[in-house]
């Protein structure tokens, strides 16, 4: 019985390493991935700097000055 324990443990460890390290598996897809989206969108100071850049390139469309009354 004991002679099966070691190979089984090794197999389980290999499987768990594959699951954890493979970038295509769901566990790695979350926070751990090196996503530029996550890096920027969770960083307030980066977002503030970028929003200044965006406002220079693309001013807010705003609302027509001709609108009047309650919508």
């Amino acid at each position: 019985m004991k002679k099966f324990v070691l190979p089984a443990t090794i197999l389980i460890l290999i499987f768990l390493s594959f699951i954890t390290l493979n970038p295509e598996t769901s566990i790695a897809k979350g926070i751990g991935s090196s996503s530029q989206c996550v890096n920027c969108h969770t960083n307030v100071s980066k977002l503030i700097r970028l929003s200044w850049e965006i406002e220079k390139i693309k001013p807010k469309p705003g609302k027509s000055a001709e609108t009047s009354g309650e919508g």
Binding site: G30, H41, T42, K63, A65, E66
Partner: protein
Amino acid sequence: MELYEKVYVNPSFLKTAHGEIRCETCHNGNPKDPDWQTAHTGIVRDPTFPEANKACGECHEDIAATATSSLHYTLAPFSSIIKKRANKKDKEVFKKVCLAKDKHCNACHSSCGQCHVSRPNYAKGGFLAGHLFQKKPCMDTTCSSCHSGRVYGEFTGLNDGYPADVHYEKKEMTCMDCHTGEEMHADASGLSSRFDLPERPVCKKCHPNVLSEKPETRSHSIHREKVACQVCHAVANKNCFGCHVGTDKKGLPFYKSGETKMLFKIGLNINKTNERPYNYVVLRHPPADPGLFDFYVKNGLADFDKLPTWKLDTPHSIQRITPQNKTCNNCHDNASLFLQKQDVTSWELNANAGVIVPDNKIPEPVKIVN
């Protein structure tokens, strides 16, 4: 909201079930590109509109299947009402009316994402809580974004001199306590009125005795099935008059609406159903106007008279005691409560012929016997 606040993702979102899905799976773009401008090429801001199946349907199959044909997605009655009033004889005119409708009226829709993740596009977007999904969105940020003009103000008491709805004031109820997810996600294909949605809220769900065979109060047994609940239990609602839309020199769409008035008008029920058998209902004047699309096409709403401009309404200003139900004769023989010819402009008379209450249909005074 500042731009950075609108797109800030709370790191705790990444620990949720939705946070385990890669950003680009729903939003496209290139997550490996360090240049934010090229990384955003092909980005999809709201992956749940107009199709919800790709983003939501894999896990929420049943909801996504009907949500895309719900009232909030399609605004189906808007199209139906405008088509009924439109000039259908002239195809070119009709086409221009449809384009104007798409530009101005259809901008008001919502989607899965615009309720559960961000504010609606109509309110210029922005995450509700750092991209954390909200099963029941907060009515003060989500519902009020689009419904603040009339219903939200009535419900929360924002109209000077008029109390908040008793459900809000005394029971601290929110929109979602009556307007359930079942209603929000229900298929509304082909509906010509939101009041015909089978999943809509009904008073008897929480007040079953009132409409039972033997109600506890005498007034309920007398008026049951004759008058809608709101006729006795609502106070004034906000009525809007005249709306014209157009495009300014910068290409921005605009609207110009006329005056708004707090009024309470009872009218005849022209669409009696098993669920709504009442003779009398409360009416509201929406900003309907025959010249609505004049900027784009003249005589676009040639069949304007096909529908009344005083429409069935369920004001969200419910009170147990109201000016009209304090005594029998506060309502009976009180012509000022009822929509009459003199309340309607001359060009609206034909459209409202069915809902105007003639003198012989104003309830007679009640003789009080001591």
